[in-house]
């Protein structure tokens, strides 16, 4: 027995070792992951990112090569630092700092040493690269914007972050991914699929051929080119008109839902977010929390829609049969209910529907709104019926389209008021502001543009979208199916006529464009902000919605100009010019154009931050910018 202890121990240990070896080397091979094997070099073959064209075939976004100098610190051998630094145009201190940073990241893994060399530097460096062990040049593709417009549409690409890598294993450290705009929405289409080669490294870290004859290798699939619905000329023109203003313009082709222009002001040059200066510029844009250039006002800003909302109430009243187009309501500078009054301006009285629309009579729509509500036995039922009609125009909810950002807006229901006042404790008068697009309603410019498109189409719309064509592919079929509103087609004609009369004799009669039958509606929305937690009224938003021509409209447009005062003052002019530009291609109303280009609202935007009391609306002065003279102020009549 005593003789056996050591013998048994030896044999037992031998068996345990062989079992362990079997486990490690044969059984456990399933857990072996090629990607984790640091002795296998993974070479990614990045496909070309798809190009972006506008609706007329103009190239907007292409690619440009960029060269990163990569480093594997462990493999760096003593080198002529002076020469190397002069080639890279860095100082010796920078070299040391960069080296230390790379070493900290990983001595074995490649990291970027100097990003994005110019082509010239690359050419010189490439010839001498063999002298510098541990460094190599990696070619990458950057976006090359062929235009300076449409930053909010085109978006940009940037390096993936850790979160994305965790969630989507496709992306590896240093890969590029869409960060904004269509680069996000069509990321998968544009990027293609990268190829991968597994290369066996030998003991000198040289490639000695593909791993297992390349059975795991894949070929890259190039990204697909896309055509977007934007009209680059119109987009550019819109951005020019919106200079020195804040707000958004959305233009839609009613017959297809294609977005012709999508302007958010202020904006920036998309080229600012390419290459070496990207992070610096992005930070600058991101930190501008006052002008918010990265905030897409056309899609994200929820404004009170104001008077354009009235036409929906007119449509609903006809659909509900509570009124005929000839019913008249009197208006004496406002609508009185209880001891309160909803103000209005001077116009003929009493007003029928046509007059109500083109003169934008508040009293008329207050009456109409009450009639709709009074049709139902309780205000709650009336509210839900009304809300349902409104929502059928794409308001109050996300549009669910292919834009990377968006907002649902706000359309109240009975529930909204039940929550605020308690069930059965509120009446139609509580919600009367909804009649004129104030109160509890909010909408984004794109929702309003879509609303007018639906009116222009006499009762249906196509979800506004930005994709027109994908190379070798079809676009999502949901964009091709019309969505019908709850309003019957015959009810639209009086409303369209009313909107036409806005131009012919109403609030926009000075904005007529010769030769084009435009239907529009002005809007002026009160708005408030908080200054030192005091609710303070600011100059009204200038709003305008329109479509043209009157029959078979080609363009529907919504323009919001923040604090632009009344509807036709800024938004109306801009909308008219945009329509003319799109339909005629040239501008005959150069007077309007000049006015828009020379008037700025920057003074207006500075007011809430000035720290001193300020005046709004009628008591304001409008800033004029002149290329020759210094900016001076002009008293508005």
């Amino acid at each position: 027995m005593r003789k056996l202890l050591l013998l048994i121990s030896i044999i037992a240990v031998g068996l345990v070792f062989i079992t362990r070896l079997f486990y490690l080397q044969i059984y456990d091979q399933s857990a072996y992951n090629l990607f984790d094997d640091n002795a296998i070099r993974k070479v990614y073959d990045y496909p070309k990112r798809g190009y972006v064209f506008d609706r007329n075939g103009q190239l907007l976004v292409a690619n440009q090569p960029s060269y990163d100098v990569m480093i594997i610190p462990r493999e760096v051998k003593p080198l002529d630092t002076l020469e190397f630094c002069s080639l890279l145009k860095i100082t010796k201190d920078e070299f040391k700092k960069k080296y230390a940073r790379s070493y900290t990241y990983s001595p074995r893994l490649p990291s970027v040493f100097v990003p994005q060399l110019s082509k010239e530097d690359y050419a010189v460096l490439q010839e001498k690269m063999r002298k510098f062990d541990g460094f190599y040049i990696q070619k990458r593709s950057l976006r090359d914007y062929q235009t300076t417009i449409g930053a909010n549409v085109l978006g940009d690409i940037g390096e993936v972050n850790d979160l994305i890598i965790q969630r989507q294993p496709y992306y590896k450290m240093g890969d590029l991914i869409g960060k904004q705009g269509i680069e996000i929405s069509y990321e998968k289409t544009l990027r293609g699929v990268k190829g991968i080669k597994f290369i066996q490294k030998d003991r000198f870290n040289r490639n000695i051929g593909s791993y297992k004859e390349g059975i795991y290798d894949t070929l890259p699939q190039p990204g697909k080119d896309i055509t977007i619905t934007i009209d680059a000329i119109l987009q550019e023109y819109g951005e020019r008109l919106m200079q020195n203003k804040r707000g958004g313009i959305i233009a839609i082709e009613p017959s297809s839902g294609e977005i012709l222009a999508m302007i958010s002001a202020p904006t920036y040059n998309p080229n600012d977010l390419v290459g070496r200066k990207r992070s610096e510029n992005f930070t600058k844009l991101y930190n501008d929390t006052i002008a918010k250039p990265l905030y897409d006002r056309g899609l994200q800003a929820m404004y009170p829609p104001g008077s354009p909302f009235k036409v929906l109430n007119a449509l609903i009243s006809l659909q509900e049969g509570v009124i005929s187009t000839q019913d008249k309501f009197s208006c004496s500078m406002g609508y009185r209910y209880g001891n309160r009054k909803m103000g209005c301006h001077a116009h003929h009285s009493p007003a029928n529907m046509n007059l109500g629309i083109y003169e934008s009579c508040n009293s008329y729509f207050a009456n109409v709104y009450r009639k709709i509500m009074d049709k139902y036995e309780t205000p709650a039922k009336g509210m839900d019926a009304w809300s349902n009609h409104i929502r059928s125009f794409g308001l109050g909810n996300y549009l669910n389209n292919d834009l990377s950002v968006g907002q649902p807006g706000k359309i109240p229901t009975a529930k909204t008021y039940n929550r605020a006042y308690g069930e059965k404790r509120w009446y139609t008068t509580f919600t009367l502001s909804n009649a004129i697009g104030q109160g509890e309603v909010l909408a984004t410019p794109i929702q309003l543009a879509n609303m007018v498109a639906a009116i222009g189409n006499r009762g249906h719309y196509f979800t506004p979208h930005i994709i027109k064509n994908i190379e070798d592919d079809t676009i999502d079929s949901k964009y091709l199916k019309p969505k019908y509103t709850t309003i019957d087609k015959q009810h639209f004609e009086p409303i369209v006529q009313g909107m036409f009369d806005v131009y012919s004799k109403g609030t926009a009669k000075y904005l007529q464009v010769p030769g084009i039958e435009i239907c529009g509606k002005t809007g002026t929305a009160e708005n408030y902000t908080k200054i030192d937690s005091v609710k303070t009224q600011l100059t009204d938003h200038s709003i305008f919605v329109a479509f043209a021509p009157k029959d078979n409209p080609k363009i529907a447009i919504a323009v919001f100009v923040e604090n632009g005062y009344w509807g036709s003052r800024f938004a109306g002019k801009i909308a008219s010019l945009m329509i003319e530009k799109y339909i005629n291609g040239t501008i005959s109303r150069t007077d309007l154009e000049d006015w828009i280009l020379t008037h700025s609202l920057e003074n207006e935007y500075a007011k809430p931050y000035s720290g001193v009391p300020f005046k709004i609306n009628g008591e304001t002065t409008l800033q004029v910018i002149d290329t020759n003279k210094a900016a001076n102020a002009e008293r508005e009549p």
């Binding site: 005593r2 202890l5 044999i11 640091n38 000198f204």
Partner: protein, 427 residues
């Protein structure tokens, strides 16, 4: 057991062939693990593989000398050899040694360094064999047990003072020798219990250990016929368990250095905090991880000589010394690694077999010492490289790079070969 070729080759050729195979294969792996650059100049003395080749060649001279010396010499001079070894260990502590990596275990002579602890193993073995084989010694008496233990503890303690805890553990292998030569069974049982309690206390804590011990003792008491006095006995044992368990815990927490704690904590999977684990992966566990990956990547047949991508990429630190087995694993795969294990097991069994066949007690005890020392190195080194036991830095005999180690093991083994060859001349 007469040997036929009495006048011809009288040494045990199986042992010698196994030795040669291990040394040769070891060197091949040192080449893999230590070469840099494209051209391999096998005699390049600036490279480990070149040096090791010279060490190996010198080994043959050493073997010739060992085998030509009269067998009686080893027995007669064992005390003197032991004293010389002890003095050389003391010499290190009084400032004659050279400090490498925090351990003062080397003498620098000319361009070479010599590690006396490697030689102390065979010297101690000789001394132990000598003492136990003395006719007056009876290992069943406590006095003689104590004396033998002192013989071992002196070099073990001196080596511990050099800050070489790994080499100290090797001296535990003499337990096998003592047990073979008559140490009471109870020590084996106590030793096993101590090991189990240590692991349990660290893994599950003192309370659980106490609980488990109590349940087992209750069980034993229940089934035992003799009830008398068993209560006092049980309570005493239980108390001892508790005290020992607490002792282990506090030893781990206060006396062990941080890296030693971490090695044990990795082995027993004590650390649960992911951040700390991640940090450990970069430090204590780094070697182990790399070595396991290298072995694992070898697959069934390995990547071939000089083709080990992790070996040549120098992913595994210390790969030509303590972690040499990972090279075998990667380049020679399961077949090669299993072969090495089998070679070692064969050598150990062969030595054991020969030891049992010795007529002189001195030779038998010495043979047992050889088998035990080689076994503990084999167990700890390969176990460590494959992650089965905590990291302890000791070399793999005949495989790992290093002149002192190679010579120490060669002398250890070949003195036995000589003793074995001489058994016919005895009596």
């Amino acid at each position: 057991m007469q040997r036929e070729n009495h006048r011809g080759f009288k040494f045990d050729w199986i042992t010698i062939v196994l030795f040669l195979l291990l040394v040769g294969f070891g060197w091949i792996n040192i080449v893999s693990a230590s070469h840099v650059g494209e051209v391999i100049d096998y005699f390049d003395m600036s490279q480990p593989y070149g040096k090791q080749l010279v060490f190996i060649l010198l080994t043959f001279v050493l073997i010739a000398i060992i085998l030509s010396i009269e067998a009686k010499f080893y027995e007669r001079f064992s005390s003197i050899i032991y004293i010389i070894a002890i003095l050389s260990l003391i010499g290190l502590l009084i400032g004659l040694g050279k400090n490498v990596n925090g351990a003062t275990s080397w003498y620098a002579i000319g361009g070479m360094t010599i590690q006396p602890s490697e030689f102390a193993k065979f010297a101690t073995s000789l001394a132990v064999a000598k003492y136990i084989s003395d006719l007056q010694t009876n290992l069943k008496t406590r006095r003689d047990q104590l004396k033998t233990i002192v013989i071992i503890l002196i070099p073990a303690f001196l080596i511990l003072l050099q800050n070489d805890a790994g080499s100290t553990i090797v001296y535990a292998s003499f337990f096998f020798v003592f047990y073979r030569e008559g140490l009471q069974q109870i020590y084996l049982i106590i030793g096993t219990i101590i090991l189990v309690i240590s692991v349990l206390s660290l893994k599950f804590g003192v309370l659980y250990t106490f609980g488990i011990a109590a349940i087992i003792l209750l069980g034993i008491a229940f089934f035992r016929r003799k009830k008398r006095g068993s209560l006092v006995q049980s309570v005493t044992i239980l108390a001892l368990c508790l005290v020992f368990s607490l002792g282990v815990k506090s030893f781990y927490n206060t006396i062990l250095k941080e890296h030693q704690q971490n090695r044990i904590s990795l082995w027993l999977r004590l650390e649960k905090d992911p951040a700390k684990l991640e940090q450990m992966k970069k430090r204590e566990a780094y070697n182990l991880l790399q070595s396991e990956q290298a072995i694992s990547s070898g697959g069934a047949t390995g990547k071939g000589f000089l083709q080990g991508t992790r070996t040549t990429g120098k992913f595994v630190p210390e790969q030509h010394t303590d972690y040499i087995f990972s090279t075998v694993g990667e380049e020679w795969g399961f077949l090669g690694s299993a072969l090495v294990v089998i070679l070692f097991v064969s050598l150990l069994i062969r030595v054991l077999y020969l030891a049992e066949g010795q007529k002189s007690q001195f030779s038998r005890v010495y043979g047992y010492c050889v088998a035990s020392i080689l076994f503990i190195h084999f167990l700890i080194n390969i176990g460590m490289v494959m992650g089965l036991i905590p990291t302890v830095g000791i070399p793999l005999p005949f495989f790992s790079y290093g002149g002192s180690g190679l010579w120490g093991f060669t002398i250890l083994l070949f003195i036995f070969v000589k003793l074995d060859s001489n058994k016919i001349n005895e009596w």
